[in-house]
């Protein structure tokens, strides 16, 4: 158990170092950082002095070490575009993204799991087939198209919901929340639905296929033969055993929600990290890009790590297999 967790932690750290290295390369070698800071008419001597004071003449390894040290402390330099510390920019934008991602995750789980169980149990019912076909359409609808359609219907035609922004936000310490005002709630409806739809269809299809798989097993047939009520079989025996892969996917999906929030935030001009990132890409604002990359990777890696450990805790079979085939590859 300890060995397994240690191995995972080690892997997570390795991933983070690779990502940090990539963003370090970005930071130092894509474009000349000095060019971005001094004016056009700065002399050669001025530039060299600048390089020295920034430590750009130090050996490569030293520079990378310093970058890592700064990154761990959340220090990513000054945004080229906005001339403000990147750390402040990101912490300002983070609550908006996290609220959006949280709302979408809850929405997709609350809708996806029940629908998946239903279509898994009533496999041949007309309603299940309809839900499945609709879910395939959901997979094929790109996030931004869903957003545009929602805006067209609910903002342009009906005028019920705002098409951009977070509405009125309330400041709670450093966290700004939109959940305390009516306009905040109205503003989050369309972005969260847009973001949740794709994840919901994934969860739905996964839960369904896992349910179908479990329903074929002997112990379910046996439970039926014993005359257990359907409710018991479906939820007490079948659904419980689908949870391992479902937890994994939901965990990993929170990561991709953060990635896809870039698109949703752009469509709805939601003032979150993703919108900040896209603007940074447009302006070649490297410090912001590098910081976002490192931050998002850190979130993904942490989630992956937790999911791996959770997996191990939830499924006792994994523990047995590990001890049996100790040392044997995957």
């Amino acid at each position: 158990m300890t060995a397994y967790i240690l191995q995972r932690v080690f892997q997570a750290v390795a991933v983070m170092i690779v990502v940090a290295f990539v963003s370090f390369l970005l930071f130092n070698f894509v474009g000349d950082p000095v060019d971005n800071m001094v004016g056009q008419e700065a002399s050669f001597e001025d530039r060299e002095a600048m390089r020295d004071s920034l430590g750009l003449n130090d050996p490569f390894i030293v520079q990378f070490g310093r970058f890592l040290g700064n990154a761990v402390q959340g220090e990513f330099g000054i945004s080229y575009r906005l001339q403000r510390p990147v750390a402040a920019l990101i912490s300002e934008r983070m609550p908006a993204t996290l609220e959006l991602v949280g709302a979408s995750a809850i929405l997709s789980i609350l809708l996806g799991i029940p629908l998946g169980v239903y279509t898994g149990i009533k496999r041949y019912a007309m309603s299940s087939r309809t839900i499945l076909t609709l879910s395939l359409i959901g997979v094929s609808l790109p996030t931004f198209v869903i957003g545009i359609l929602l805006i067209y219907v609910f903002s342009v035609n009906l005028g019920w919901l705002p098409s951009f922004g977070r509405g009125q936000v309330t400041q709670l310490g450093w966290w700004s929340t939109g959940f305390l005002t009516v306009s905040g709630w109205k503003a989050i409806i369309m972005p969260s639905v847009t973001l949740a739809l794709f994840q919901m269809t994934l969860i739905l299809r996964l839960v369904r296929s896992e349910m179908l798989e479990v329903m074929r097993t002997d112990y379910i047939k046996f439970a039926r033969a014993r005359g257990l009520p359907d409710r018991m079989i479906n939820f007490g025996h079948a659904f419980k055993n689908t949870l391992v892969p479902v937890i994994t996917i939901i965990g990993l999906n929170v990561g991709s929600l953060i990635a896809f929030s870039i698109i949703t935030e752009t469509v709805f001009q939601w003032p979150g990290m993703g919108f900040l990132f896209i603007q940074a890409v447009g302006f070649a604002d490297i410090p912001v890009m590098a910081a976002y990359l490192v931050l998002v990777a850190a979130i993904f890696v942490t989630i992956n790590l937790f999911v791996d450990i959770l997996y191990f805790v939830v499924d006792p079979r994994l523990r047995v297999e590990r001890t049996v085939s100790a040392g044997g590859g995957e």
């Binding site: 991933v15 198209v145 870039i262 752009t266």
Partner: protein, 314 residues
């Protein structure tokens, strides 16, 4: 796949063999699949022969007339049959821009899939067949990349390439950059599947036999193992095409994809989105509809192919 049961004679003619196969039977039995195949075929055809199929050439400034700008679709009060789906802000025919746009989208999609397939299948074959440290390195690389969603990887590569390229080359190179970015973002899926299938094939007798009689390992991999792992790879590639088209559209929508001078469906949607509030809905909604229809039909084909090639579901 189309295993011939013992005792029956195999029809010689290729057409007969296709018509006689299990795959074709399951294809013709599924109306949804037939319809989506037809829709996809129409898209491919229109995209391939865009200059002949499209009613106008939307990128020839000589044929454009600003007086035609913002014409609504033909069935609306101010529409004309000359522009069936209306025109955009520069008087370009929407139907024609969609046809040319799908051409760009599909070129990027197919090339990106091909690119990631070559990398992924190649590395997967090597990893599965050679095992040892090659396998460890390749699979760890795939693991690391899979930690980060593909769209983000593509966005990152695309963004960096934009910065690295000199300004006058950016628009010209945009399509190649996109293909590279989307292709690299998707290779781990192919590598994983290929490695898994190769591990199974590697221990079969025909591979051992080939090894024993001294066939070169590269030849074993390419002409013996590869054909036997292509089934699952093809399924991935079909769904991968839908994914690549969506990714391309998304990047173009975000403004880091192909430039407006050579628009893909995503660029058209992005440009049209600016006119949504002033009531010119057709400029953005028709390209969106085209994109969704294309992706949906390819997805449905992929779904069917996966089931048809999966012996467990027979």
């Amino acid at each position: 796949m189309s295993d011939n049961p013992l005792g029956t004679t195999r029809p010689e003619n290729l057409l007969h063999r296709i018509l006689d196969s299990d795959i074709f039977y399951s294809f013709i039995r599924s109306p949804v699949t037939v319809v989506s195949a037809i829709v996809a075929a129409i898209f491919f055809f229109a995209a391939a022969f865009a200059p002949w199929v499209a009613p106008h050439n939307p990128f020839d400034p000589a044929t454009l007339d600003l007086m035609d700008a913002f014409t609504p679709p033909a069935w609306e009060a101010d529409g004309t049959p000359n522009f069936p789906l209306g025109t955009d802000d520069q008087g370009r025919d929407i139907l024609s821009t969609i046809i040319y746009g799908s051409r760009v989208s599909l070129i990027v999609g197919f090339s990106a899939v091909l690119f990631s397939m070559v990398i992924g299948v190649g590395l997967g074959l090597l990893a599965g067949y050679l095992s040892g440290w090659v396998e460890t390195i390749v699979m760890r690389m795939a693991d690391v990349q899979l930690t980060i969603p593909a769209i983000l990887v593509a966005l990152m590569i695309d963004g960096v390439a934009h910065i690295l390229l000199p300004i006058h080359l950016r628009d010209e190179m945009a399509i190649y950059v996109l293909i590279l970015a989307i292709g690299i973002s998707d290779w781990p899926r192919y590598a994983r599947v290929t490695r898994g299938a190769t591990l199974v094939e590697r221990n079969k007798e025909y591979v051992s036999a080939a090894r024993v009689i001294g066939v070169h390992p590269v030849k074993i991999m390419l002409s013996h193992v590869l054909p036997n792992v292509m089934g699952p790879v093809l399924v991935l590639a079909t769904i991968g095409l839908a994914l690549a088209v969506i990714t391309e559209a998304t990047l173009s929508f975000l403004g880091v994809g192909v430039p407006p001078t050579q628009p893909s469906l995503g660029t058209l949607i992005r440009v049209g989105n600016n006119f949504l509030f002033s009531g010119e809905w057709w400029i953005t909604l028709f390209p969106s509809l085209a994109l969704v229809t294309l992706v949906l039909s390819v997805n449905l084909l992929g779904d069917w192919l996966r089931d048809a090639l999966n012996p467990k579901l027979r």
